[in-house]
């Protein structure tokens, strides 16, 4: 057991996105200025806005390519668990995690050796993939009563038989992490972070602390989300937060742009492999980046389901991460942002970056994924971190898709063309309309 905090490095990252499996697919798609936002099939096409960025490949086909155990059958997973399993499997391959085939099992998972020092923190939500079944269930058990309606309990036992027992287990909000514990042979700390797009960055930040607290040497950490999902689309439509159904889907995701009309449904997940630097060195792992610092800050919205009172919470989260990392704003080469594509929220976020970056605000690229893949909930921060690490490695930063006419207060660059840039230090920032903000600082190895 070590007695002082060791450095924490990232030795692998995995992504599942509407561009397919792998961070490369997402990064290359973004570099090419492509979007995967398109019209959705019925019945989802009837849910506002009727379009979104969805992963089209069948889960079984994707999971077959990845490290997984016999428990990892798509039938045992909701969409969230599938996204988590895919992103983690991709990250394990990317990190060259040793994979075994012990005890005659057909599973392809890490050996038990070292499992007590491995853990997993994953941010996700819970939503049944069978939302339509819940609608039908609710319809089955409702009955007229006097002038109103009431649930007829006598119908419930019959209606519940339309579900299988496993559908209720799958629905538990810790299931992505439970699968990850098995997939990654983790016998260390394992936990799920819920709610808000900041959850993925929070999970990574807490995993960083778990290593520094000596609870583990290796942590799988990240987040997943799907808002191309009946329930989430219903909620967004009800709250008036969806993008307009009357715009071209390919042009709907417009972070920091005046013509943005609201949230574009999307889905995806990102997972990082964090390791104690000495552990990574001992196994000869390739270090993709060093995780220098983490920060979070909550500032309550001004009203229930309203907007944050200003950029203060986001700025404080970022400054805490920068302070932990021991860096100044002048050292930041690239920022990854939420860029929800909601003009009011984006204006608050833009003001935050202007305050953080000061005179350099006009030159530091502000990367947002939402124009390409929509709102990926808790997946967005880890996915952005993976893209940022590829930008560090390859010196190319994707351009700013659909940001032709930036909102007032946005002082950053807005060029659709990719940039050639020496990216050494990245601020990964996720601010949310719920008021929870989280940030990471990543540095290129040797920078």
């Amino acid at each position: 057991m070590s007695t002082t905090p060791d450095r924490v490095v990232i030795t692998g990252f995995g992504v599942i996105s509407p561009f397919g499996l792998g961070a490369d697919a997402l990064y290359e798609g973004m570099l090419a200025g492509e979007t995967r936002v398109a019209a959705l099939p019925e019945p989802r096409a009837s849910l506002r806005p009727g379009y979104g960025a969805a992963i089209s490949e069948r889960p079984a086909k994707i999971i077959r390519k990845l490290p997984a155990s016999r428990e990892m059958r798509p039938g045992t997973m909701t969409r969230y668990t599938f996204l988590s399993t895919a992103a983690l499997g991709d990250a394990m391959l990317n990190a060259n995690v040793p994979l075994g085939n012990e005890e005659g099992r057909k599973d392809l998972v890490p050996p038990w050796e070292g499992s007590k020092r491995r853990g997993a923190y994953i941010a996700s939500y819970t939503n049944s993939d069978k939302f339509d079944k819940y609608v039908r269930f609710a319809h089955h058990v409702i009955a007229r009563k006097g002038d109103g309606v009431a649930i007829d309990d006598s119908q419930v036992p019959d209606a519940i038989r339309k579900f299988t027992a496993f559908e209720f287990l799958k629905l538990m909000n810790n299931m992505p992490t439970a699968h990850a514990g098995i997939q990654g042979r983790c016998r260390g700390p394992v936990n799920t972070f819920l709610g808000t797009p900041a959850g993925g960055v929070q999970a990574i930040g807490r995993a960083y602390e778990a290593i520094r607290d000596d609870l583990a040497d290796v942590m799988y950490a990240g987040g997943v989300g799907s808002s191309v999902h009946d329930q989430m689309m219903m909620v967004r439509a009800t709250r008036g937060l969806s993008s307009s159904p009357d715009v071209d889907p390919a042009a709907a995701g417009r972070p920091f742009d005046k013509a943005a009309t609201g949230i574009v449904p999307g889905e995806g997940g990102g997972m990082l492999v964090l390791e104690r630097a000495s552990t990574a060195e001992a196994r000869g792992a390739t270090v993709k980046a060093e995780l220098l610092g983490y920060g979070d800050w909550f500032a309550a919205p001004v009203s229930n389901r309203g907007l944050p009172p200003g950029p203060g919470g986001m700025v404080r989260a970022a400054r805490k991460a920068m302070k932990a990392a021991g860096i100044e704003a002048s050292e930041i080469d690239l920022v990854t942002a939420l860029g929800e594509s909601d003009v009011e929220l984006d204006a608050i976020e833009a003001a935050g970056f202007a305050e953080l970056l000061g005179p350099r605000a006009s030159e530091v690229p502000i990367l947002s994924l939402t124009a390409h893949v929509g709102a990926c909930e808790a997946g967005i921060g880890p996915m952005a971190a993976a893209v940022a690490m590829l930008a560090m490695e390859r010196g190319q930063v994707p351009g700013d898709l659909n940001r032709e006419d930036p909102i007032d207060g946005y002082n950053g660059p807005s060029s659709a063309a990719p940039r050639t840039l020496d990216v050494r230090t990245v601020l990964v920032s996720v601010m949310t309309r719920e008021g929870i903000n989280a940030a990471l600082v990543l540095r290129r190895p040797g920078a």
Binding site: E42, A178, T192, E209, D296
Partner: protein
């Protein structure tokens, strides 16, 4: 690496036995049961008809900052948090002090969607339509504009942790879940945050309202719940040979944790020390614990090591003790692995025998009761224990509370998916 000493200074509950922790502990230590036939809906014909419900009006702030406390789960958790903060004698922090306060809250799901979807479906599809052939596209096109649809937004209980943060004046909010281990997990995570110097004060715990028309029959289909419908008061019987599953319970429980230095500086009453915590994962199966209890034993050992406590110093194990055949057998094996021969000399009891399983709130409620056990000196019993299971052969404090000087309690919480957490509560000696 030095770490700050973590102490407990406040407790708050809204649970089936009541909303005053002192009174709740009194009832629990006397072995009073709150499991019974479900009253929130008519469970006639349900596979499981048993629950443990909050049957009284819960007093809670109706508005917390921007958050309207408009559903039952929110009322439970905001009520519990309000009580814990007052118990600790704290006010909401302002300014830079907020940076030194944290929330770690575990939440299940909120109001059942069917309550909102049913009326919409009936209205849009008509009284005589067949639910199973109705057109979803037309439903989706119109449903978001129906007034009840706004209720769907409450399903994830997203505002529970932020509302608690406003009550405490906390700048750091974590909403976590590890199924049945969640409540203890939140407490352990909050303790770690204080121990490493990141915060001076943290509020941690959980809330769950699973006694619903969907989750009760759903978990009964998983064969997780007791179906002793003809005798609901005796349905939750951890470690008893006749156990056949757990009873769903509802409620919220939280505690205020502080660094010892902060608590002493403000003259707070220190209730107990949160001396250590340990985590592990079985990495085994989604539904079953590792049958030899290896993961459970690992997290108990880790908690004891974290606390600097030898196994023979443990006076009492507040067990996870769900009343399922698998858990109780595996937990018994695990306790023996972790404590060795001392396991047979240790009082092990399951509070769940009296209020069932509060899922995300279970570990937090049982943690609050553990603190009270140290203070009051009566170990709550495992009620409904009548027939010994040869595979569960420890001292389960059967049926009657036991007076004892209790200095060290090992609290276990184990979740579906193999997530395990143990917490060590110790008598505070300054």
């Amino acid at each position: 690496m030095s770490r700050a000493r973590v102490v407990v200074t406040g407790l708050g509950v809204v649970v089936p036995h009541g909303d005053d922790i002192d009174a709740v502990y009194g009832r629990i230590s006397r072995g009073e049961n709150e499991c019974g036939r479900i009253t929130k809906f008519d469970p006639d014909g349900f596979l499981c008809q048993i629950g443990s419900e909050v049957k009284y009006d819960v007093e809670a702030p109706e508005q917390v900052g921007p958050y309207t406390v408009h559903n039952e789960a929110l009322r439970f958790v905001v009520g519990a948090a309000d009580r814990a903060i007052r118990y600790a004698g704290l006010e909401a922090a302002t300014g830079d002090e907020q940076d030194r306060r944290s929330i770690v809250l575990s939440t299940g799901v909120g109001p059942a969607n069917i309550d909102f979807l049913g009326p919409i479906a009936l209205r849009l599809h008509g009284d005589d339509s067949d639910p199973y052939t109705s057109d979803m596209a037309s439903f989706y096109a119109k449903a978001p504009d129906e007034p009840e649809a706004a209720g769907l937004d409450e399903f994830h209980l997203d505002t529970a942790a932020p509302a608690c943060a406003v009550l405490l004046g906390a700048a750091h909010v974590h909403n976590t879940a590890s199924a049945c281990a969640s409540g203890s997990h939140a407490i352990a995570d909050a303790a770690a945050i204080i121990a490493r110097g990141e915060a001076d004060v943290a509020l941690a715990g959980g809330v769950c309202t699973p006694v619903t028309r969907v989750l009760v029959p759903g978990f009964a289909m998983l064969q997780a719940l007791s179906t002793r419908n003809d005798d609901p008061a005796h349905a939750s019987r951890p470690f008893d040979a006749g156990r056949d599953g757990f009873v769903m319970g509802e409620g919220a429980a939280v505690m205020v944790l502080e660094s010892e230095e902060h608590a002493k500086a403000r003259g707070a009453t220190i209730l107990a020390e949160l001396a250590g915590w340990g985590y592990s994962c079985d990495a085994y199966r989604l539904t079953d614990p590792q049958p030899e209890g290896e993961g459970m034993a690992l997290c108990m050992t880790r908690a004891l090591e974290s606390a600097g406590v030898r196994p023979d110093q443990v006076d009492h194990v507040n067990a996870h003790g769900t009343s399922t055949p698998y858990n109780d057998r595996a937990e018994t094996l695990a306790i023996k692995k972790a404590l060795g021969d001392h396991a047979y000399k240790t009082a092990v009891s399951s509070n769940k025998s009296m209020f069932g399983h509060l899922i995300h709130a279970a570990g937090a409620l049982e943690g609050c009761l553990s603190v009270k056990t140290i203070l009051e000196g009566v170990i709550p019993p495992t009620i409904n224990y009548t027939d010994a299971d040869p595979l569960c052969d420890l001292d389960y404090v059967p049926n009657e509370g036991r007076e004892a000087k209790v200095d060290v309690i090992l609290k276990n919480s184990f979740g579906f998916g193999g997530m395990n957490v143990s917490v060590v509560y110790r008598r505070y000696e300054g």
